[in-house]
Every structure is written in C-alpha cells, then in structure tokens.
C-alpha cells in the first residue's frame, strides 16, 4: 500500500498488462520515444521495445482502425489517443466498427481493445483541445466508458478494461494525473457499472464522475459548513451505468445535482437527470439539478474558461435555488 499519482496508477496498469499478457501492445502518438505527452508511457519503450510500444503517425483513424483489426485478430491493443478531441478523427472506427462488430457478426468477432484518452478542460488549451466528449461515446451501444476520479479507481478500472472482451473508452482527465491516492499492492479490479459513494450524506446527492467528483467534494465541504450533508456518488463508469447506487442515494436524500463538465445541452448529465426523473420521481423534493459546462466552445482566457466549467460555488447555489436549502 502506498500513495501514488493517478498517472502512476495508469502506468502501473499498463506495465502489468504488458508483463502478464503477451497479446497486449500499445499504440499511439508520441508514446514511445517521446515517452508520452502526459508521461504515462514513460520508460515503456525502453522496457518493452518497438514491437509492443508503437509510435504512430498523426492519423487517429488509422491508429484506431489498426487496433480494431488487431483486436479482431486476437491481440489486445491499448491505444492512446492524445486527447479525446482527436478521437473525433477516429469516430467511424470507434462507433461504426469497434462498437458494432460483435453484433453484426453475431458474436463471431470480438474487439477487445482499450482506447485510453485524455479528457477535460480547464488547462487553457483552447476550444478544440478542452472538450469532455466521453458522454458522446457513452451513448453508443457496444462501447463501454470508464472515467476514474482517483488512482485506486484508475488502476482497478484499467485492469477491468484490459480484461474486457469489448472496446472500452478509458477517459483520463488531464487535470487529475497528479491526484494522489492509496493503491494497494495486492491485485484488485473494479467491475464496470459499480458507482462508489465517496462521501455519505443525507441531505443532497451530488452525482459526478472524473474531475467532477472533486468539484462535488469541494462543494460538499462548503455545504457541510452550512449544515447540509451532501452524498457524493462517483459513477466511475458511464456505460454501463450504475443506476441502482444513484437511485438509492436519491431515494434517501430526495435532492440531487448532477455535475458534468461536458456541455449542458444533451450532455451525459442530462441522461442521468432523466434516468432519475423516470425512476425516482416520487422521491424527489424538486427537479434534478444540473451543474454542467456552459454551452459555449471553451474560452481560451483562463478566467472565462473557469467560469464555463462547473465549480463548487455553482453547485452550492444550484442547491439553494432548486431546493431552498
């Protein structure tokens, strides 16, 4: 047991997979010689060589397409797409091929691949590099989407992702790599579709994932001073979605705010909100609140960008406005 960063947790998961399963190999831009744009693959090329740590051209469609083919042929590719924004270039490969092949082949073909990618804004990278698009992929049947918020979950979910027989989008938030957390030495894995109650409370439920969990926890600390006990539910995976944990919490608190860094309009937060209204209407003390990214392309200006993303103050005031507490 020791405290490590989320970055190191992911690296550990990759190393472990490379060590234990010879079918596993990595592909991506700048993951080898450059040691990874976010340094997640640091040292791997030296250790595992060019066969298994493959630097690719800047052509995401080709990279993902090659991985789909490799997975179909029996390998277990782990692709790194530098940011989720670039995954748009591989949309056809992801949505029309990786997600569909098992179904269109009547189960004759499996696509056991992981696409690791970096999501989230708030780092002044401009409108085209600051998006949170994991929710888009979570709406596609045939894909699985994990979005860890801490090192423990990152390693546990990555193990499950690599072992999964279907394509998984593994969204690592750019601003969580330095987050520290205890990770046990003993092997463990976190099954998909199991949310985690990060903080228990009776008064209001904050549903979040990835970096939103930290925003929600900040809000919970503020609320605690006001005498309001928030329960923070970390979804951990968007697809499959653990509706039971969310609904159990909502049935207890009757109040819920969904925190989502993605755009509010059609965002994954809207799906969660709708799911709650459909299943827990008679437990609600008011409409489900959403604190989401503003419906604008991410501003470059740091102050403006920050104001376009959910923060603790917005969560607190949403609770006041919607529930009067």
């Amino acid at each position: 047991m020791g405290e490590i960063t989320l970055r190191d947790a992911v690296t550990r998961g990759l190393t472990e997979a490379l060590d234990t399963d010879e079918r596993v190999f990595l592909m991506g831009e700048d993951i080898g010689s450059y040691q990874g744009p976010y340094a997640v693959t640091k040292g791997l090329l030296e250790k595992y060589g060019h066969e298994r740590i493959r630097d690719t051209p800047i052509s995401e469609g080709v990279v993902v397409g090659a991985a789909v083919g490799a997975a179909m042929a029996g390998l277990r590719p782990i692709v790194e797409i530098m940011t989720i924004n670039f995954l748009l270039l591989a949309m056809d490969m992801v949505v029309n091929h990786a997600a569909k092949l098992r179904y269109m082949s009547n189960g004759q073909i499996q696509v056991p691949m992981v696409i690791r990618t970096v999501t989230g804004g708030g780092a002044q990278l401009g409108a085209t590099h600051s998006q949170s698009l994991e929710g888009w992929f979570a709406s596609v049947p045939g894909l699985k989407v994990a979005a860890p918020s801490d090192p423990y979950d990152a390693l546990g979910l990555l193990r499950t992702a690599i072992a999964d027989e279907d394509p998984v989008i593994f969204a690592e938030h750019a601003r969580l790599y330095q987050v520290l957390g205890d990770v046990p030495d003993d092997h463990y894995a976190i099954p998909f579709g199991q949310a985690k109650v990060k903080r228990a409370g009776d008064d209001v439920t904050l549903v979040a994932y990835s970096r939103g969990v930290h925003t929600a926890l900040e809000a919970a600390a503020i609320l605690e001073k006001k005498g309001v006990e928030a329960e923070v539910v970390d979804l951990r995976t968007l697809r499959p979605l653990d509706t039971a944990t969310v609904l159990t919490s909502v049935e207890k608190t009757s109040r819920v705010i969904v925190v989502d860094e993605a755009w509010r309009c059609g965002g994954f937060g809207a799906e969660i909100s709708s799911m709650i209204h459909e299943n827990a209407f008679d437990s609600l003390d008011g409409p489900v609140g959403r604190v989401a990214g503003l419906d604008v392309p991410a501003p470059y200006n740091g102050t403006l960008e920050a104001s376009a993303l959910p923060d603790a103050a917005r969560i607190v005031s949403a609770i006041e406005e919607i529930y009067g507490i």
Partner: protein
Amino acid sequence: MPQMGYDMLEGTVVRWLMTEGSEVNIGDALAEIETDKAVVEFEASESGLLRKILVAEGATVPVGHVLAIVGDADEDISAPENGDASPAYAPEPAPAEEPPEEEPAIPLPPPAGAAATEEPAAGGLRASPVARRLADERAIDLRQIQGTGPGGRVTKNDVLNFEPDDAPAVVPEKPAEAPPAPVEAPSEAAGELVPMSRVRQQIARVTAKSKREAPHFYVSAEIDMTRAMDLRKQINTTLESEGVRVSVNDMIIRACAEALKGFPNLNSYYTDNGIQMNDGINIGIAIAGEQGLILPAIMESGTMSLAEIAKASKDLVERATKGTLHPREYTGGTFAVSNLGMFDVTSFIAIIQPPQSAVLAVGTVAPRPIADGDEIKVASMMTATISADHRVTDGAESAQFLVVVKKMLEDPMSLLV
C-alpha cells in the same frame, strides 16, 4: 362535502339519513356530517331522487368532495363525480385560501373502501413529488402545510416536520444556518402519546394560526360590577316567571354588542386587501365542551335586548352540548367574549379567533377593596382584558372601547336601553 366552518378541511359522513332512490326535497336532511367541532345535518340543496351515495358512512373526505347525487330518475349521472366542475351539490364557497382541491380521501377506521377514491391533488398547490407521497402515506392534507421551498413549494422537510397537533408547521422564511434539529420521536419512557380529538386538532390549528398571523396586544380594565350585580338580581326576580335568567356574561355580551357599534374596527377582520367590516354584530361565546373549547356566536347580538341575549346564550349552550349548532353559528362570530369567572380567577388573556379581531377575556366578579375618593370601600370587581389584532386597531381605540364597556357595566341601566 360542504364547508361548514372556518378552517374546515374535511368532514366525516357519520350516517346517511336517506337511502338511494329516496325522494328528496330541498332542505331535507340527507346525512349527518361530523366536522371538526360537531355533528351537523347535511341538507339537500336540490329536489329529486337520491340517485347515488358516493361516500360511505364513516369515511372522511375533503371539503368539496361529492357526497351523493340528487337528480331526476332518468338523468344521466355518469359524469365524473369528483373533480367535476359542477358537482351535484352546492357547497358553501370555500375561503379563497383554501381552493376546494380534490385530495385523496382519507378513510377513517374502520376504513370505508368505497370512499377511497384516489385522486391526485389538482394544480394550484405546489408540492414536491416526495412531499405528496409522504403526505399521502401519513394521511396529511398538504393544504395544511405552509411550503418553504422555492415558490412556496411544500417540501419533504415541510411534511416531515409537520405535526397535526402543532398547527401548520412554522418554519422560518429563510433557511437557518444549521438545519432544523431532527424531530426526535418521544422516547418510550416519556409517557403515552394521546391521539387528539378533532376539536383539539382544530383548536391547535386555529390558535397557532392566530398567534402566528395576528399581532396581539392587550388592554385591561378593572370594572366595578356592584351595580350590575344588583340589577341582575332585580331582573332575574322580575323575569323569573318567564323563565329568563340573565347571567353576568349576558350583561357583558350586551355591553360589548352595544359598544361595538361605536368601534367598527373591533368588529372587522384583517385581509391582505383591506380591513373587512362586518355588517352585523355576532358575539361568540367561549364554551368549554367535553372535548375542548368551541366558540359559537349569538347571531345578531347587536340587535338584541338583554333578555333576548340571555335566552339566546342559554339556547346556544344547550345546542352546543347536543352538537346541533348551525354551521353559521360556528363561523359567524365577529367578536368574542371568554369568561372564566366561574373558576375564581382574577384575569387572563385570550387568543383571538380568526377571522375576528378582538376577544374580551373576563375573570371572576369578587368583592375587593377599592379606593373611592379618599375612602377605601369594598366593591364587586371584575377584570376584563381585551386582546386585539394590531393590524386593524390600536391600543388607544381598544382602550376607548373597553372604557365604554366599563361605563355601561358600571351604569347598568344603559344595558336595558
């Protein structure tokens, strides 16, 4: 279910006095209805056949709920009975603050299944889904609860904190810094939890509402009742053969009724739109019944002689005991007198019964030493305290009113004029 009293929210059908198919004339008693205060007869407002009884005996339904259908033999009565805009009966108009919404019927034990028509609360009342569910589970009428959520929405906490024995939940307008302390269930060692009678519940609701909304102030006066007591003795001797017996309270009522003519503000009530004057003077008298206090009024006391008041008050007390007061007598009071003189207490202050603006509380009449010029003498003294609603009147006006009452009682021949 007709509205038969201020703040009446629901009523229980005790007994049907007619069966389906009976011929009904206007004014015929159809059923006995138990309200918060008494059992009263429910009279037909239309003639025809009692086509259908919709609420079983023993069932409690909200005001506005259709109890039965009276119509012609061949009339189509398949229209929806409850929730219909034109129900077959004509309830007295409900106060504006209590729109006759349909609420799920609440059967009393033994539950009358026939009455348990489940209807969702109609629009107008804002309550969250969980508040509606909890209120339904606990058989709480949401209209009794003051919502504290955004837009006045009744919230989960409003329902959880609502105690029917504690009047409408009083919750601060602004959320407190700390959440309200959890309502702890009384521990088993605390003793028995006694369910409240309807009358008790009503008293709780009305007095708390009054104290919460009407800023009370109080003015007291000592009244020398020596001459009034003498006059009373004379009158009672004179009228003995007629069976009339005037009480001290009757004299106080007479004095108040006369005095109110000069102080219309004390015979009015506050509304958000203005001060509503009452045309008549109907003085309510506090009667301690077996189950609690009721405050029926002597209608048109302002036009009555002392002897008439004496007869009317005696009749009122008798009918209150039997539970056959007319609903109008419950609701029609415009001023009230509360007298605890029989208990040998000096003075007390009373709570105004909405929608009234004042109540006079009187203690016992007892010999007391008083200063008469430079001399000390013994007189039959009584302390009277008026509680008045500061929204409609001020201390000076109430003091002047009290002085008029005092002068009339101290010069009691004026009571006979």
